[in-house]
């Protein structure tokens, strides 16, 4: 059981092709990192997997635990177990964090079944405390007026509350200071288990020092160009992505 992507092609709706044949298998229990230069298509991959309406899949398949993700609307993909921690989380004025998460959890319940409000708030406070978040953030509108770091922390809060089977972290480390990075990473590591997989998109080694990946992929020109182990991170840290250009030449 895993996230399986085969020959995935996608373009901006009515525009340029950005994903040009992505093949990727992330077995449950593993953490895979995707690194790559700016504009290589890493964030597009994450959005396409979640069903962002700006993109159109032109070929290929994506399965999560045997379910055809591409046949589902974005909300069904989430309920099937997929989660994306956004690079740039949007602000949603007028919807409190607590109500937002409650609605998301309620959507996962069978029709007619109600969420235990007491247990929910107790758990929300506990997870917020673990992430070092002020309890007042639960009553604040989703991401409104949050700093960059607070938004990223809020994404991880949502991930911990929704307990997905496969989580994609899209540059979660950007905007986080060293202490916040450590706390957030602890939260992610606490979720690592034999029935859950992670796809961690990042530019920097420092996140992967905390969330140690099992496999590292290098993304370039809309596809996975190279796959390796932890040593590939060290190589990129030292040499950058120039080796991709040399290979192109």
């Amino acid at each position: 059981m895993s996230l399986v992507i085969k020959n995935l092609h996608a373009c901006v709706r009515g525009g340029q092709e950005i994903l040009c044949g992505v093949d990727l298998d992330v077995p449950t229990g593993e953490v895979h990192a995707i690194m790559g230069p700016n504009g290589s298509g890493k964030s597009t991959l994450s959005k396409v997997l979640c069903g962002h309406p700006d993109y159109e899949v032109t070929a290929g398949s994506v399965e999560l635990n045997g379910q055809d993700l591409l046949a589902m609307p974005p909300d069904a993909r989430s309920r099937a177990g997929l989660f994306l921690a956004f690079q740039y989380p949007v602000e949603v004025p007028g919807v409190s964090n607590a109500n937002f998460l409650r609605a998301a959890l309620k959507a996962r319940l069978p029709e007619g079944e109600e969420l235990d409000a007491v247990a929910y708030y107790k758990r929300l406070r506990k997870v917020m405390n673990e992430l070092g978040m002020d309890p007042k953030f639960s009553s604040r509108a989703v991401n409104e007026g949050f700093s960059g770091g607070e938004k990223k922390r809020n994404e991880v809060l949502q991930m911990l509350m929704l307990e997905p089977l496969c989580a994609i972290l899209d540059e979660t480390d950007s905007g986080l200071d060293v202490d916040a990075l450590r706390i957030v990473s602890q939260g992610v590591n606490a979720m690592r288990s034999s029935f859950r997989s992670f796809l961690v998109i990042t530019h920097y080694k420092r996140l992967l020092d905390y969330i140690v990946p099992d496999v590292v992929h290098v993304f370039h020109q809309g596809r996975i160009e190279r796959t390796g182990g932890r040593d590939l991170v060290d190589y990129i840290e030292e040499h950058g992505f120039d080796f991709l250009k040399k290979e192109d030449a």
């Binding site: 909300d75 989430s78 949603v92 007028g94 998301a104 509108a141």
Partner: protein, 339 residues
């Protein structure tokens, strides 16, 4: 009391008739006066008014007025109104509610005086019966250091109409926040003039309205900065479905000597139907140097990125859309609560 067909014949302002914009309602006021000649005064009822609060009859001539309000008052020859007076220093913990039912064609005038250093949360509610219409003149005077949080609720029903003219004058360090809502009125026009007359005065004007079917809401606002060192904010939000129409005219005027003014106005509309119409006219008149003034206006459908964000958390499309529509207006309420 007037008959139904009379209220429908009242010559009310419309978007294409510039005589009504910012202070020339007298052109039509005489016609209005003739039709409303026999209209009854709508009486506000206050429930369990606490000590330090008086609701008394108030002679028309005792009601000072400015601009279009004065012209309208003169033309209509409106009789006695009511005056709500809050004693200096009164700190009222509970909100005061004034409720009135509107039948046929009615007029109402209210003067509210919040004494120096006093604090008041006032809720004014008009409940309209079918085919009714209200012409309403309201004036709020905040003495130095006073705070007034005001909710104006117009609760319509079918073919009901409202024409409300409000003015508010804030003295030194006075703080004023209003939240107006219009619900199920076929037609409503709301003119509001705010004047900040002394340093430290601050105001937040809010409005949140859900418009549907053929309803039309016409909001005209003016933020007049007559003194240096004052702050005003205006946020007017509407959601529109079906063939509803929203009209917004907003004007910040900074008088020549009113330096260090800090003012902003914003009109935001969520257009949920291709047949709904929005006319938005935000304006600035800045006659002083050293000010911070700006305005904004946006009309758009539900934000696609917000919608995707909610869906990405498992919330079904229809519920996500409904949540965002409600949140759009709930946000205004939040601003009021935080004032």
């Amino acid at each position: 009391m007037m008959h139904t067909h009379d209220t429908n014949a009242v010559p009310l302002p419309d978007r294409l008739n510039e005589d009504w914009r910012f202070g020339r309602p007298h052109v039509h006021a005489r016609e209005l006066a003739e039709i409303l000649e026999h209209a009854q005064a709508a009486e506000l009822r206050g429930v369990d008014l606490p000590s330090g609060v008086q609701l008394t009859p108030c002679a028309a001539e005792a009601l000072p007025s400015i601009g279009s309000e004065a012209l309208m008052r003169q033309a209509l020859q409106i009789g006695p109104g009511q005056c709500l007076r809050i004693a200096d220093g009164s700190q009222l913990r509970e909100a005061i509610s004034l409720h009135s039912e509107v039948h046929g064609g009615q007029v109402q005038q209210l003067r509210v005086i919040v004494g120096a250093g006093a604090r008041l949360h006032l809720i004014e509610e008009h409940e309209y019966s079918e085919e009714s219409m209200l012409v309403c003149l309201r004036r709020y005077e905040l003495m130095p250091g006073a705070t007034l949080r005001l909710e104006q609720r117009e609760l319509g029903s079918g073919n009901t109409r409202a024409f409300c003219i409000s003015s508010c004058i804030c003295a030194e360090n006075a703080r004023f926040c209003s939240l107006s809502t219009h619900q199920d009125l076929a037609w409503a026009r709301h003119e509001c003039t705010l004047e900040l007359t002394a340093p430290g005065a601050e105001a937040l004007l809010l409005s949140a309205n859900r418009l549907r079917s053929e309803q039309c809401l016409d909001m005209r606002n003016r933020q007049l900065h007559s003194s240096p060192g004052c702050k005003s904010r205006l946020l007017c939000k509407n959601t529109l479905t079906d063939r509803a129409t929203a009209i917004f005219g907003g004007n910040i005027r900074v008088q020549p000597h009113a330096h260090d003014t800090d003012a902003y106005l914003s009109n935001l509309n969520l257009q949920l139907s291709p047949h709904a119409t929005v006319h938005s006219l935000p304006m600035l008149e800045i006659l002083a140097d050293r000010v911070r003034c700006s305005h904004g206006s946006a009309t758009a459908p539900v934000d696609a990125e917000q919608l995707f964000y909610l869906q990405s958390r498992g919330i079904p499309l229809a519920e996500a859309r409904r949540t965002l529509e409600e949140a759009f207006l709930a946000d205004v309420r939040l601003h009021f609560e935080q004032f």
